[in-house]
Symmetry: C3
């Protein structure tokens, strides 16, 4: 099973860390992938700085952090400040559409 | 691919315009339909008046704006003030259930 | 058709009652199950006390109220204060993943 969390504010991003931990730690499930998609400029900056620890924790658990390219254009952070496991996607809503079409589960945080 | 946005406040409705533009403009996807479903009376009124421009823009891009009949009962706007491309649905949650059963992707704004 | 509502605050929980009523009362649909999943400690306590009436109404309509075990650990309510129709699930996000994989529709309140 594969699940993507949709995040549009810094608080939700911070919460996503525990939600990924709970998901990957749920022994009743067979999870093969988890992702957190951010589609808001301020939250992308939070992922780079204020909530950097959340970003490190997420990729450390094997989750992918996906940044909407459109939102990224409004953020201050540069792409190269992010660790491996963080990637730009064509558009946030486009990626959420693509993932769900591929069978990923969607959860809004 | 077909995607429906679920909107319950006026700000989210306003944001939906850019989100539809990003989705339909994402060249990595093959989108065949986009819809914005409103299930809140005040937001339906916003779609009629305060955010009328958003409504015009959405239908102008080919998206359908769907209004929950239950919420519509609590709104002040009359049905005939809306342009073509805006339609009443049996219930917001019912339509979201029907669309997802038909393969539409769901995104909560 | 089967639909699960995802709830993380007491207001959304309160709203879920009408949303379940609208869904089950929508004669254009063939609903076989409805559930409300709560993944927030304060909202679990609200389901036990402040919004107890909502809980009674939901299970009275035949909906299942699902409580995230992780969130339950942070709540004050005991499990035995809840009526039949309320159940603990392994994790909120895990249950939402499992249900969607089984074909349930997801709606974020």
């Amino acid at each position: 099973m594969r699940t993507v969390y949709h995040v549009s504010d810094a608080d939700a991003y911070h919460i996503s860390e525990g939600k990924v931990r709970n998901l990957l730690g749920d022994e009743t499930l067979d999870m093969t992938a988890a992702a957190v998609l951010i589609d808001h400029p301020g939250s992308i900056d939070a992922a780079a700085k204020g909530h950097r620890q959340t970003t490190e924790a997420l990729v450390g658990m094997g989750a992918t952090v996906k940044l909407c390219s459109n939102a990224f254009g409004g953020a201050e952070a540069d792409e190269d400040v992010f660790p491996d496991g963080v990637e730009l996607v064509s558009s946030g809503v486009g990626e959420l559409t693509r993932l769900q079409n591929e069978g990923w589960v969607y959860i809004r945080l």
